[in-house]
Symmetry: C2
Subunit: 325 residues, 2 copies
């Protein structure tokens, strides 16, 4: 990986205390790069930032229609959620509509994001289940697709399963990328994750935003209607999409953000080299802010996320995070 | 801040997914640099990595002797602890011995590190108190010093208070640095934190390790006897000092590690440019491993911390963190 420019700084006492490097690209649906910085051709694992791509075969196969999935459920299929009660409710509904059960999940279990949900589970004497996993919506969608394809659900997370083959085929076509020869890793939730250039991710999201892309239109509409389902309480994705409904944005592990601006026909992708979210959030906000596609109100929202104040345990202002893209 | 070399990589699927840059230095007590990489002259906020320095005036003033502090309590004065029940017990003891009370704390409150302690507090209907703050041992020591100096405890965290003046004077002398003209910020626990070169931090720790430095000998002995007090359950500092008692090491916020190897007369300091702990832990382990001052058993312990496997929520091995120093 080549050195990339500094995309955000963290300052204290008037000097830079820490700094973060990264790369980003904004593309239209024809592959024209509208803005970029750093190495946008190096392979990057998008991780959960491309859950929207993973959801496309669920829709295009007819599975989503067959099982009567609604907007809330489609949004959760594209989410990295907090495992809050509403997320669990919607994941359970997707499972039920497709005739699946929690026991079929192969994503593993982890504790919810919010302290109050952790305490609620712990005090009941229970342990977190796979349905609390931040990927349980995506996995419920994958199980629905397996059911629709008439495939055994066991092993639906493996590279050779029809579900993952469908995901790879869809993503390769959308992003103009040869995934057969791309590095492939195992994601936190056990599904394959392919590494490919940021430029191709941005292209794929621009194409997803095209009015002619039926599945993309549903996904973007669903996220706009239910931004809470994409992440949840105290999360950047939900906060910014709630305030800025013309933006579709999704975090991926290790400092990735991908998304699209449907009204402008643009897709974007950013990776913070060191995996930092604070830097990725500030830098993608500033990257989007610099595009000439927003109203003054929308610019103010993005500007607020491109720069934030750090407070300490007593509430004193002690520093700031500033995008430098 | 100049670009620094890559000190650790995080890989997945056979490629580097994320990478971390930083600088480090190992010095003897005469200021001879034994090993270094990156910019060791740039000002760095050591944050909690120099709590040992902040503890020196407590000892050298006579306050620690006067109030009868024991090794466990001195270790906690140098700690960033988890707020576990044993840490809270020892902090309370320091407060009591010096005639102080929790209400005098100016560090702010935050939840303990471990889930079980969070759940215990939450289920009792309580909120975390200042004594749960990871710095409550240091602050109990500072309150004891204020008492000993006959100073009002109110405002003991401010730059102009006799406690912080004593800290600055001690640290400036130990590290050969002019703190009067150094950038100064407010730390997470509200005390001043001065930025100065890693080289000077390493020098100060080498001097602290000198057999003639009485306060240093007490601090190092206390940490060796009570590594749990320095951090706690599931923490790097405690884990490695428990296995490797000839090492004194302390984390600081934003990816800093400082410490000393008393038997070799060496001090060290490392800063990960982006504030990452996973990188700082791997890189400092590898840095120490490369010094010709360890037994084969000790080298094996350091090697194990310089490289670690990443597992996902199902326990599958999905990647690794590797020091590259």
């Amino acid at each position: 990986m080549n050195p990339n420019p500094v995309i955000a700084t963290v300052s204290r006492g008037g000097i830079v205390e820490s700094q973060h490097r990264g790369a980003f690209v904004v593309s239209d649906a024809k592959g024209h790069v509208v803005a970029s910085s750093g190495d946008i051709e190096a392979p990057v694992f998008p991780r959960s930032a491309i859950k929207a791509f993973q959801c496309v075969p669920l829709i295009e196969s007819g599975a989503a229609h067959r099982f009567g999935l609604n907007d809330e459920e489609i949004a959760l299929c594209c989410s990295s959620h907090n495992g809050e009660p509403d997320h669990v409710r919607v994941a359970a509904s997707i499972l039920k509509k497709a005739g699946n059960a929690e026991a079929q999940y192969e994503c593993g279990a982890h504790w919810p994001h919010e302290r109050s949900d952790v305490v609620a589970i712990a005090t009941s004497g229970a342990e977190p289940r796979a349905i609390h996993n931040n990927c349980s919506g995506k996995h419920a969608g994958m199980l629905a697709l397996a059911r629709h394809l008439g495939a055994e659900s066991e092993g639906y997370v493996t590279l050779t399963h029809p579900v993952q083959k469908a995901v790879a085929k869809t993503m390769a076509a959308l992003c103009d990328v040869d995934l057969a020869h791309a590095p492939v890793g195992i994601d936190g939730c056990s599904v394959p994750t392919w590494a490919y250039p940021l430029r191709n991710m941005a292209l794929g999201f621009a194409r997803l935003a095209d009015p002619g892309h039926t599945a993309g239109q549903w996904i973007i509409r669903a996220a706009r209607a239910h931004p809470f389902m994409i992440a949840g309480s105290n999360r950047f994705d939900t906060a910014i999409m709630t305030k800025l409904p013309r933006l579709f944005i999704k975090v991926g592990a290790e400092g990735v953000y991908c998304g699209c601006i449907a009204h402008a026909g643009l897709g974007f992708a950013l990776k913070c080299e060191d995996g930092s979210y604070r830097a990725a959030e500030a830098a993608i906000s500033q990257t989007l802010l610099k595009l000439d596609v927003w109203t003054a109100d929308e610019r103010a929202i993005l500007a607020a996320h491109a720069h934030s104040t750090l407070s300490n345990w007593r509430g004193l202002e002690v520093g700031e995070i500033t995008a430098t893209v």
